[in-house]
């Protein structure tokens, strides 16, 4: 619940009110216009045939937009791909936690490693798309490395083979997010009380036992927070698709959020785009609500 620490004890007057609302006005106007309005209007417009130049000319069509989604095979592909995208979640969480544990030690050069792992997080997705386009090229470094290790005979079309492209894009999501979750886990690890682990050490528990029996259970809130954040991110993933494949080859890399973006800004079918966004929003909202409820009951 909100805590307002600096409440002056004197009773407030209408002048106090007016002044406070003046301080708030600029932020509230922007929030109303660009955070609240889109949700309300968007939910409404998803049931209409939208006229973006004159919204009053939009026509109520009931569930027709959602019916159109259901009838579109590309939308079904998007749903399946979004579910597949969730595979990134356990992989990235395990890897990030392992990295955090490795790097959270009083040893030389650990800060340097942390920075190296974090650099992809502060890189624009467009630059990421360009660089990985080169890595995934027929003659690119990935194919060359695999050939050098004698793991493949012929180059793999990472972004041109419709059976592989989605996983190649997911791999880039993994690469981009690793450092982010690592930093969250480091913060979680550093907040743990040292005494419990020291006590276990005195009792003769080895490093492995201490990690699984003590660190992981105590880290539960961070683990759940990161898993939820990364599930939300996977459900909404589409930037990597925009910059790397544009949904191709043969529509094999469409995700739900990409479908919405594509319908809106490439096909200019805003009605269908809004219906698809409403679906993503609903899923996202349920997950965010679970997140919120959980962390409130945990007393965070």
């Amino acid at each position: 619940m909100p805590t307002f620490k600096h409440y002056p004890s004197r009773h407030h007057s209408w002048r106090d009110d007016a002044r406070a609302w003046l301080f708030l006005a600029p932020a509230l106007v922007v929030l109303l216009l660009f955070a609240f309005w889109p949700v309300g209007l968007g939910a409404l417009l998803a049931f209409t045939e939208v006229n973006i130049f004159d919204l009053t000319a939009s026509r109520w069509v009931g569930l027709a937009n959602f019916q159109a989604l259901w009838d579109d095979p590309t939308f079904i592909t998007s749903v399946v791909n979004t579910l597949l995208y969730l595979l990134v979640v356990p992989l990235i969480q395990l890897a990030a936690l392992a990295l955090a544990v490795l790097v959270n030690a009083q040893l030389p050069a650990m800060k340097l490693f942390r920075t190296a792992f974090f650099v992809p997080v502060v890189t624009s997705v467009s630059v990421v798309g360009i660089m990985w386009g080169w890595m995934y090229n027929e003659d690119g470094m990935l194919n060359q490395l695999l050939a050098w290790l004698r793991l493949i005979d012929a180059p793999i079309g990472w972004l041109s083979d419709e059976r592989i492209a989605l996983f190649a894009v997911m791999f880039v999501t993994f690469w981009r997010g690793l450092g982010y979750y690592m930093v969250l886990y480091i913060a979680g690890l550093q907040a743990l009380p040292q005494e419990v682990e020291e006590a276990a050490m005195l009792d003769g528990a080895n490093r492995w036992q201490r990690f699984w029996r003590i660190t992981v259970p105590m880290l539960r809130p961070t683990l759940l927070l990161c898993t939820l954040l990364s599930t939300l991110a996977a459900m909404k993933a589409f930037e990597e698709v925009v910059v790397m494949t544009g949904g191709g080859p043969i529509g094999s890399t469409y995700t739900l959020a990409f479908y919405a973006y594509d319908q809106g800004f490439r096909a200019f079918d805003f009605s269908r785009a809004l219906a698809a966004s409403a679906v993503v929003s609903l899923i996202g909202f349920v997950l965010a609500w679970i997140n919120f409820r959980f962390f409130r009951t945990e007393g965070r």
Partner: protein, 275 residues
């Protein structure tokens, strides 16, 4: 001697693993850099030469001549600068009201701002585009910046910072006859310096790197920021890999340097964004 050997043996697995992961996360950058600075020869040679034999800056010059990099750079500076300035002003004013002031409807405002953190944002990109169309702000930098100022996390970050200032400081200034505006400007803001820095750097990195939103709002390439322009050009000049690599390098470099210099503040901002 025995101790040294023991230490080395226990460290070796950890360091080799960390080195391998560091190579994994930084390799695409190293490759791009060496391609941008390399002179001639096969860019896809293997094993890759991570430091070119005769490094040259000519591809950077060529990039600046072939593609409007300088223009993109200034667009990026304008968009990011305006977003950072606007975010700091709006968030500090609102954060101050929520932390220090007392007014009717405070609880409601607090909950409303909190609600924007869990409201679904997926509809925003499409409806905000429609809103901008109605306001005739598409294809303008103003249109890119305005929706980015709706930043509840910034408000909370600064509310928290103002909460940490001891009440006695405000009381003493009030007794000395300071107006509320002076309290805000002369007392609260200077004391919230680190939080302001965290919000500024975090917003700057996010805006500089933003791709989707500016690409949606801006239609004419001469309005593009670097992050949008460089991808647009990599399609057009795909054959000139070294030139694109140079442009890519110039896109990353400013934000990377800034991040390295202000890492501490950035991490603080990240912490605030999660909570």
């Amino acid at each position: 001697m025995h101790l040294v050997r023991k230490l080395l043996l226990s460290w070796a697995p950890r360091y080799s693993l960390l080195l391998l992961v560091a190579l994994f996360t930084t390799f695409p950058f190293l490759w791009t850099l060496s391609t941008a600075l390399g002179d001639a020869g096969n860019i896809y040679a293997f094993p890759p030469q991570l430091w070119p034999e005769a490094p040259t800056l000519k591809h950077i010059d060529e990039a600046r001549q072939t593609i409007p990099l300088d223009r993109f750079f200034w667009n990026s500076v304008l968009i990011s600068g305006a977003t950072v300035a606007g975010t700091l002003v709006l968030a500090s004013l609102a954060g101050y009201a929520l932390s220090v002031l007392r007014f009717r409807g405070q609880r409601l405002v607090f909950l409303a701002v909190l609600a924007t953190l869990i409201l679904p944002s997926e509809l925003n990109i499409i409806v905000n585009f429609i809103t901008l169309t109605m306001l005739k702000l598409t294809n303008t930098h103003t249109g890119v910046v305005l929706p980015l100022l709706a930043n509840a996390f910034g408000i909370f970050l600064l509310k928290q910072a103002f909460d940490e200032i001891p009440a006695e400081i405000f009381d003493a200034a009030r007794i000395d006859g300071a107006s509320e505006w002076q309290l805000f400007w002369r007392v609260a803001l200077p004391l919230a310096g680190p939080a302001l820095a965290a919000l500024a750097i975090f917003t700057l990195v996010a805006t500089w790197n933003a791709y989707i939103w500016p690409a949606v709002v801006l239609q004419s390439p001469d309005q593009y920021p670097l992050a949008v322009g460089v991808l647009y050009l990599s399609g057009t000049f795909a054959a000139k890999t070294r030139v694109i690599a140079a442009g890519t390098g110039l896109t990353i470099l400013p934000v990377l340097i800034l991040f390295l210099l202000a890492q501490r503040y950035f991490m603080r901002g990240l912490d605030g964004a999660v909570k």
